[in-house]
């Protein structure tokens, strides 16, 4: 218990970084995932192919490699720099990599949702003169989104837990990194383990409950 108190402030600061990464990645991955799914269902073959390649490559690559590539490939080799401060820079590198990775899962969840929307909805949208983008935005995606709120919640929960591998992208200030540092100094400590577990559960469990409740509330009656 003493360990938890000693390292508490560091761990809390690290955990706050997990929260910040999660917030950025949640917003960015939902936006990017929506763009990707629009590409995957678009009538333009080139866009469809690009979306498919992206999803299949990124979704099947281990996150640690995606983050390492973001840090070593994009940042070090190609000179993508978000900030002069190394810690801020690595934060954004990791946030970007995590968003890019999570977006592939968001895309696939949304695509599953689109498949539940009856074809007639799209036909009716086209029949009143909506363009493809309009019918996607106003008719198809809103209904698709409602059916996949719960799976999207799972994607978000996975993403939040994935912030603990931020070290792979060179960001060494999240709770897992702080934990490792504490263990390296004083040896493994059960209270620290449990403290971090509780921290994540406090973050993720409400998301599960909330999205479950929301999906029942938003369900589209047919």
């Amino acid at each position: 218990m003493d360990d938890l108190i000693t390292y508490g402030p560091n761990l809390a600061e690290g955990f706050l970084n997990n929260v910040k990464l999660s917030l950025v990645a949640a917003v960015a991955s939902l936006i990017l995932g929506t763009i990707l799914v629009a590409m995957r269902v678009s009538p333009t073959p080139v866009l469809r192919a690009a979306g498919t390649v992206y999803v299949n490559v990124v979704r099947n690559t281990p996150l640690t490699l995606v983050l390492a590539f973001s840090a070593l490939g994009l940042s070090d080799q190609l000179g993508l720099v978000f900030s002069e401060t190394p810690r801020t820079n690595s934060f954004w590198i990791v946030a970007m990599g995590l968003s890019a990775y999570t977006a592939a899962f968001v895309c696939e969840a949304l695509r599953a949702g689109i498949n539940t929307v009856p074809l007639g909805q799209a036909e009716a949208a086209r029949a009143i003169g909506l363009t493809f983008m309009q019918s996607l935005r106003m008719i198809i995606l809103p209904q698709a989104f409602r059916t996949v709120v719960a799976p999207l919640g799972s994607v978000m929960i996975a993403m939040i837990k994935n912030t603990t591998v931020a070290t792979a992208g060179g960001f060494v200030a999240d709770s897992a990194a702080e934990m490792k540092e504490a263990f390296d100094t004083t040896g493994a400590s059960i209270p620290i383990f449990l403290g971090i577990v509780v921290g994540f559960m406090v973050l993720t469990m409400p998301i599960g409950f909330f999205t479950g409740w929301l999906s029942r509330r938003l369900a589209v009656a047919r």
Partner: protein
């Protein structure tokens, strides 16, 4: 027939063919629909009636031939196609009301988003149309809360809200419980009387007799016979049509 008495047909199909893989579903279709005309398409299932109906707003593409709507060849895609579709109403067998929108929103969506009508004006017009089809009291409900007959009447109001030059009806009563068929047909008969140009794929022979100007009998992807309703039902010219009629008019 219409206020401007324009004699050119609103729709002209010229040598239209459509293939689904090895299936030849529309065979050399030549057909015109005049302004203000009510054309009823009947025939056995799988004969290409629905496909024919759906080619006119290009929900189905065609393999060759051409379709001319209001003097212009149907656009292939993009904005021009969307514009054409906004001028051709469509009523589906399965209603296809937007499930996540209220009845009122279903009717106003097209005018607001496609025509750029102000929301107030679109709402007002929607209520008039819902009044006309007898659903005004349900304007704030969702489609799933309405009966099939009510939903189909809303679908007609949705089509009317776009002030279309024509409405396509693709088996509008086939998915309805029998007691709801008449309420939808009544609305359609009202439209026909008001001079709306209509193409109606249906099995409702009563509607064809009462409201149609012309009946087209389709089988095996071909137009087998075209006639006035009276002539068609009492004195069909082809064996295929007589055979079909003998099977459905059994009493």
């Amino acid at each position: 027939m219409t206020e401007n008495g324009d004699a050119t047909p609103l729709v002209r199909l010229e040598n239209v063919n459509k293939h689904f893989g090895s299936l030849h579903v529309l065979k050399d279709i030549n057909l015109t629909v005049s302004r203000g005309e009510v054309l009823v398409v009947i025939g056995p299932s799988g004969g290409g009636k629905s496909t024919l109906c759906r080619t006119i707003n290009r929900l189905e593409t065609i393999s060759d031939g051409q379709i001319i709507f209001d003097g212009k060849v149907l656009p292939a895609e993009g904005k021009a196609l969307a514009r054409l579709r906004s001028e051709v109403g469509m009523v589906f067998q399965s209603f296809n009301l937007f499930a996540h929108k209220t009845i009122r929103q279903n009717v106003t969506l097209g005018p607001i988003k496609v025509r750029g009508t102000a929301k107030d004006a679109a709402d007002k017009r929607a209520m008039e149309l819902l009044e006309r089809v007898g659903i005004a009291a349900q304007a704030d409900k969702y489609p799933a809360q309405l009966s099939g007959g009510q939903q189909q009447r809303v679908a007609i109001a949705r089509a009317l809200a776009m002030e279309p030059k024509m409405i396509l009806f693709d088996e509008p009563t086939s998915a309805l419980d029998p007691e709801m068929v008449q309420e939808v047909l009544d609305v359609m008969i009202g439209l026909a009387r008001d001079g709306m140009t209509m193409m109606v794929v249906t099995h409702e022979m009563g509607f064809a007799r009462r409201a149609a100007n012309r009946v087209v009998f389709m089988a095996d992807g071909q137009i087998v016979e075209e006639n006035t309703p009276d002539e068609f039902f009492t004195n069909a010219q082809t064996d295929r049509a007589r055979d079909f009629l003998s099977k459905i008019l059994t009493h």
